[in-house]
Chain length 112, copies 2
């Protein structure tokens, strides 16, 4: 998951992912549309591939890069676990906080 986040954290790679949402594309096509130099595109695609975000498929001498659904699905599942926060009144948790402060233990064992 860290790899997924790291891959998407770069602006250029994010743009590539966004572009690939419309379907698989060869490297040069990506470079032209996003105004990126070919080596950089290849390098970014490599990172995306290692993160499992894209898949390659040879087509003559070009390589078609396509988005893979799985990492996005995993990301979605991870987010689902936070869904409770979206409507939950977070303020209510502040009370609960009091307790946490209590069990706040100093690193040592006994309080001197």
């Amino acid at each position: 998951m860290h790899e997924t986040f790291a891959a998407l954290a770069d602006p250029q790679r994010f743009r590539i992912v966004e572009l690939l949402r419309s379907g698989p594309r060869p490297v040069n096509d990506i470079g032209e549309r996003l105004r990126l130099q070919q080596p950089q595109v290849s390098k970014h695609l490599r990172v995306l591939k290692e993160a499992g975000l894209v898949d390659v498929q040879p087509r003559a001498q070009q390589r078609l890069y396509a988005l893979r659904a799985q990492p996005l699905r995993e990301l979605h599942e991870w987010l689902e676990r936070y869904h409770q926060l979206w409507d939950a009144r977070f303020e209510a948790m502040d009370e609960l906080l009091e307790e946490l402060q209590q069990e706040e233990k100093p690193h040592g064992r006994s309080k001197k």
Copy 2:
């Protein structure tokens, strides 16, 4: 959004976010639970805060850090736009690819 991804890309910060899912916590509490040194925790929390992922609330001399829902919501909305990929048969797009190859134009104007 890049900031959100960048913030979550770091393993330690990811752990902090995961921990905060259970509710707001003071800095030291985070450090103890995750076995991180206090300065590092503060630094990571700074990044998380600048990314809008957490919120601070002073409580005596400690600071309670809490998750903010908005960035996660935005992340969710962004993911929704990719939902089509999750059930769509991607192979079908390969045909569509043929077309893309056609309109593949060389950088120059006329082919020599």
